[in-house]
């Protein structure tokens, strides 16, 4: 009997999401920089919004996925949900840092300063970064089953803190941040909205692709470890 090349489950899904994310990121970059109309007030710097807002929403999706994975981990005690939770928070945290950086660049261009404490969204994201950075400190200080349980609990509590942080900062400060989405709809023309939707789809696909790749890496590592154990015992 001849074995084909060893396959780890999820390779095909990771490849599909990777290709989709790459195509969408390229298309959205071309659209945002070459096709979308320039904002009359803010000029070229407004184009950062297509990535800034899209990454912000994608990071919230990542934290929501981690919260759901946390709930499922506590219910099933399945190690795979811990993998999903950790990978989601890792990517969500990376996205949140990018939100703070792109927001800071936007603040410099719009208001002449790198940091504006009266901008509730920027401040909120800084708090979100601190909340989720603590997740990794917690993980590194406990082991095995306790690590999985505590990480799951913190992912749930962290996600509960996100809307509270958003709301508390909004109650406290006046709005200087441009409000894009209001209760009466999107505050931008149709052509801009179209490219925003493409950017948003690209960022969500990028999150899924990174998540699939991360999970694939973990599965491959486990498969390799099992193989090494079998070879040692043979």
């Amino acid at each position: 009997m001849t074995d084909g090349p060893a396959r780890v489950p999820g390779q095909r899904a990771a490849a599909i999401w990777g290709v989709l994310a790459t195509v969408l990121v390229v298309v959205s970059s071309i659209g945002v920089f070459l096709v979308a109309p320039e904002d009359a007030d803010q000029g070229i710097i407004q184009r950062i919004f297509y990535f800034h807002v899209a990454i912000a929403i994608a990071s919230l999706v990542a934290f929501a996925v981690a919260c759901v994975a946390g709930i499922l981990q506590l219910r099933t005690r399945d190690e795979r949900w811990d993998d999903v939770g950790e990978a989601s928070i890792r990517i969500g945290l990376l996205f949140s840092v990018l939100v703070v950086i792109t927001g800071s660049i936007w603040a410099k261009a719009s208001w002449g300063t790198w940091w504006v404490w009266t901008d509730p969204r920027l401040v909120t994201y800084l708090i979100v970064v601190l909340i989720y950075a603590a997740y990794f400190v917690l993980r590194s200080s406990v082991e095995d089953d306790r690590r999985m349980r505590y990480s799951a609990i913190y992912a749930i509590a962290g996600f509960a803190s996100v809307p509270l942080s958003f709301y508390s900062v909004r109650v406290a400060e006046s709005f200087v941040h441009p409000v894009v989405f209001t209760s009466s709809g999107a505050n931008m023309p149709g052509s801009m909205l179209w490219w925003f939707v493409v950017s948003q789809a690209a960022m969500i696909c990028l999150f899924v692709a990174l998540l699939e790749l991360d999970l694939l890496g973990r599965r491959s590592e486990r498969a390799l470890r099992r193989l090494a154990m079998r070879l040692e015992s043979a």
Partner: protein
């Protein structure tokens, strides 16, 4: 039955504290030292710090809360009380409730000293008329601190470097409480109280407490599920 268990556990914490007087005395002293450090940290010779009074008060209370919450499980851990509690048929939610009540009472005891002292130290104008409204906001904030603090101190209990882990976990979650507590204080201090703003901050604190009560009740079983 559960109420009796709850009251027994609360009594246990309070009796231990009344006998040793370790936690509350340390918390009050710490809070006073914080207020003095903050005054010097501001580097001002101006006696009237009404503009900063909310921040001074709530930063002090937040750090004092970290200290108190960190001490709250010391007896359980060091004297193996936790082993007995976990072996007994006491539901985890009762343990959560008892510890939250104890932390709530510790914080209230600290605020009985800190809130008037902030007025004496930093405010030269109108403060004492507003002290009742500040106290109501403080009680709501205590509920938030007690519920989130119980959950996070439970998580930090079995970690390596737990004294370091607790502030890292707990303080970011306390930011909304500090924002709302300081906001509620500023709304009523300084002469012309804005009651609708005060009410908004208090409702926010109530929402925070309810949300963290739900999260804690839903997850506390898993904290001690060994």
């Amino acid at each position: 039955m559960r109420r009796r268990q709850l009251m027994a556990l609360v009594r246990k914490d309070l009796r231990l504290e009344l006998r040793t007087r370790e936690t509350i005395v340390a918390m009050v002293l710490f809070a006073i030292v914080m207020l003095v450090i903050l005054q010097f940290g501001f580097g001002t010779r101006d006696d009237d710090l009404t503009r900063f009074v909310g921040g001074l008060m709530w930063v002090t209370l937040a750090f004092t809360a970290v200290l108190g919450v960190g001490r709250s499980y010391v007896a359980e851990r060091e004297q193996h009380v936790l082993d007995g509690l976990l072996a007994s048929p006491v539901p985890r939610t009762v343990m959560l409730g008892a510890k939250a009540i104890a932390i709530f009472l510790y914080m209230t005891a600290v605020e009985v000293v800190v809130i008037p002292l902030v007025g004496v130290f930093f405010v030269k104008g109108s403060y004492w008329d507003a002290i009742g409204w500040i106290a109501i906001a403080a009680l709501l904030a205590n509920a938030c601190i007690a519920l989130s603090g119980t959950l996070f101190s439970g998580l930090a209990l079995f970690t390596r470097a737990r004294d370091l882990i607790l502030p890292v976990l707990f303080l970011p979650a306390l930011v909304p409480v500090v924002v709302a507590g300081a906001g509620a204080t500023h709304a009523v201090v300084g002469g012309s109280p804005d009651m609708s703003e005060w009410r908004g901050y208090c409702l926010f604190l109530l929402a925070y407490a309810i949300l963290f009560a739900l999260v804690s009740i839903a997850t506390y079983d898993a904290v001690f599920d060994d």
